[in-house]
Symmetry: C2
Subunit: 321 residues, 2 copies
C-alpha cells in the first residue's frame, strides 16, 4: 500500500464539492488514503472531525473558461494545487472531475510530459466480449489530431497495456472498415506511419471488431474517441431502459428479473458503464485521473480507486472493479 494519498480536486465537476467529498470518504472507507484540495472553509464544514486532510486552494476553473487563460490566471486553482501535490511527491496521484481542457493544460504545465511525448492523451478501458480489456485513446484530450500524434498515442497505449499486464498488446487504428484505404483523411495518412513503428499493428479496426477482441489498444483522435465512448454508453443505457420497460409488462418476467438479480449485479461490475471512474492521463510525469464532469459519489470513488491502482497501490480493504 502506498503511503501518499490520492489528491482529489474537490472543487471541479458538476456536483462539486458535495459528490467529490462523499466519493472521497467512500474511497477512504475502502482503505485508500485521500486528501481533498479546495476551499478550506467549505470543505472543513463538510467533513467529520476525523476526516481526511484538506489542502487549501482558492481558485476554481469555470466551465466556460478558456483552458490556457484559466491556468495563467492563478496558480492557486484547486486542480493546479492537486497536481503539484503529485509533483512534489506528497500525493501518489491526482483526480479531477472539473474542466478537462484546463486539467490538461495544468498537467503539462505543473507536472510536465514524459520525454518524447508532445501531448498527453486520455486512455479509457472498455470491456470486451471475450473478457479482455480494450484500451481506447484518445478519449477526449486532443480533438483535432495529426497522424504523428495518433502514432504517439499508440506508443502510450502499448506502454499502458503492459502496465495493466498485457504481454503483447495489439494496436488497432479505429476506422469505418478493415481494408487498408478505409477511414477519413487522417486515418488513411496514419496507417502507414503506424505500420512502420515496429509495434504489433493489426491495421484498421471497426468498433464492433475491437469490442469483440480484435485488439488491446485502439487509437483514434479525442473527438471520435469521446463520441465512441458516449455512443457505447448511450446504447447500453437505451437497451437497458427498453428491456426494463418490456420486463415490467408482466408479473412472470418481473419474477424472472428478480431471479437474475445476482447475475445482473455481477454483469454491472464487469461492464461498469455507469461505475467506471473515467480515464487515465497518459504521457505526464505523475498519475492523473480525469473523472466525468457529471460524476456522482460512486463514480468519484471509482476514479480514486483507478488513480490509486494506476499509481501502483493496493487498497487495504474494499473491492476494486
Amino acid at each position: 500500500m502506498l503511503d501518499a494519498p490520492v489528491a482529489v480536486d474537490a472543487m471541479g465537476g458538476d456536483h462539486a464539492p458535495q459528490a467529490l467529498v462523499e466519493g472521497a470518504l467512500l474511497a477512504r472507507s475502502d482503505g485508500i488514503p485521500v486528501c481533498l484540495v479546495g476551499d478550506a472553509e467549505i470543505l472543513g464544514s463538510m467533513l467529520p472531525p476525523s476526516g481526511p486532510p484538506v489542502i487549501a486552494a482558492r481558485g476554481v476553473v469555470g466551465m466556460g473558461e478558456s483552458p490556457v487563460a484559466a491556468v495563467r490566471r492563478s496558480d492557486d486553482l484547486s486542480v493546479r494545487v492537486a497536481l503539484r501535490e503529485v509533483r512534489v511527491g506528497r500525493a501518489c496521484a491526482a483526480v479531477s472531475c472539473g474542466h478537462t481542457g484546463a486539467l490538461l493544460v495544468a498537467a503539462v504545465f505543473d507536472l510536465g510530459t514524459v520525454e518524447g511525448v508532445e501531448r498527453p492523451a486520455i486512455a479509457t478501458v472498455l470491456p470486451r466480449a471475450d473478457g479482455g480489456r480494450l484500451i481506447l485513446l484518445d478519449a477526449g484530450a486532443n480533438i483535432d489530431c495529426k497522424p504523428e500524434l495518433l502514432v504517439s498515442f499508440a506508443r502510450l497505449g502499448v506502454d499502458y497495456a503492459r502496465v495493466l499486464g498485457v504481454a503483447s498488446p495489439r494496436v488497432g487504428l479505429l476506422s469505418n472498415g478493415e481494408e487498408d484505404g478505409k477511414g477519413n483523411a487522417v486515418v488513411r495518412a496514419t496507417l502507414p506511419l503506424l505500420q512502420a513503428t515496429g509495434l504489433d499493428v493489426v491495421g484498421n479496426v471497426e468498433p464492433t471488431a475491437a469490442m469483440s477482441g480484435g485488439c488491446e489498444v485502439l487509437v483514434t483522435d479525442g473527438f471520435v474517441g469521446n463520441v465512441l465512448i458516449k455512443a457505447a454508453e448511450g446504447a447500453v443505457q437505451t437497451a437497458v431502459h427498453l428491456l426494463r420497460e418490456e420486463i415490467q409488462r408482466s408479473r412472470a418476467s418481473m419474477f424472472g428479473a428478480w431471479l437474475l438479480r445476482g447475475a445482473i449485479e455481477r454483469f454491472r461490475v464487469r461492464i461498469a458503464w455507469d461505475a467506471h471512474g473515467g480515464g487515465v492521463l497518459l504521457g505526464t510525469r505523475g498519475t492523473v485521473v480525469v473523472g466525468h464532469g457529471r460524476a456522482n459519489p460512486e463514480a468519484v470513488r471509482q476514479a480514486i480507486h483507478l488513480a490509486h491502482s494506476t499509481a501502483g497501490g493496493q487498497p487495504a480493504g474494499g473491492e476494486t472493479t
Copy 2:
C-alpha cells in the same frame, strides 16, 4: 400496395448470392413483390419454378475496386441494372448489400440527385430510450465532409423525419460536448451555419443525450456516423454477451431468463440492432436501401421491408419492424 417490385442486387454482399436470394424469398413470403438482379444462370438454378423474376446482369463490383472505376467499367453491373429498374419505374426501390462506394457513385450516375443536393447521404434510424426514433446521417456515404455538406444532411434528415411522421423534427449536431465551441474543427465551423438555416436546431448534442431523446435528426460526417453506429452495436452485443455468461452461472438465473423470453423477444424487435435492414440513401431520385455487407437472409428481408415501406408500400402480410 405498390405493384412495382423491389429490385434486389443479388450479387452484392459478403454472402451473395445465397443470403440475397433467401432474404428476397422471405420478403416475398411477407407479401412484398421482389425481383432479383444478377447472373441469370446462377440465380435461375437457385430459385423455385414459381420464384420471383430475374433481371439479367453480368458484372459484379469487387470489394477492392475503386467505386468510380467500377461504375465506369460496365453498365451491366448488377447494382447498376437494379438502379435503372427504379429509374424507369419497373421497380419501386432498389436494395444492395454490395460495395457501398460503388452503390453511391452508381446512384448519382444512374438515378441522379434531387435538386439542390450535392451528395446523397445514408440515414439510419436508431432506437431512443424514450421510445422515439433517432435519424442519424451520414451513416457512411461521405467520409470527409465540409460544413456546407453537413448542413445539407440536416435538410435531408428533416425531410426524411417528416416522411416518417415526425411533425417538428429537432436537429442536433453530433459533438463531444453540448456547449457552443465544443467539437472538432468541422463541427465548430458547422454549428453557426446550421443555426442560420431556420431549421429547429438544438445545437451540439452528445450521443448519450441524442439516444435519450435530445433530437430527432443527428448530423455528422460519414466516418463518425459509421463509427457511432458500430460502437453502439458493439457495445450492446458485448453487454448481451457478458450478461449471458453471468446468467449461465446458476440454474436459478437460467430459469429467470426463461421467464423473460417474451420480454426479450419484444425488446429485440424494439432495439433491432441485429435485424435492422441498413440505411436509406437520401437525396437521390428514387428509393435506395444500403444493406450491410455482412447481411444474412434475415437482414436482407428487413432491408427489403425498409425499401418497400420507404417507397410508400404496405406489405400484404407479415410484419414489418
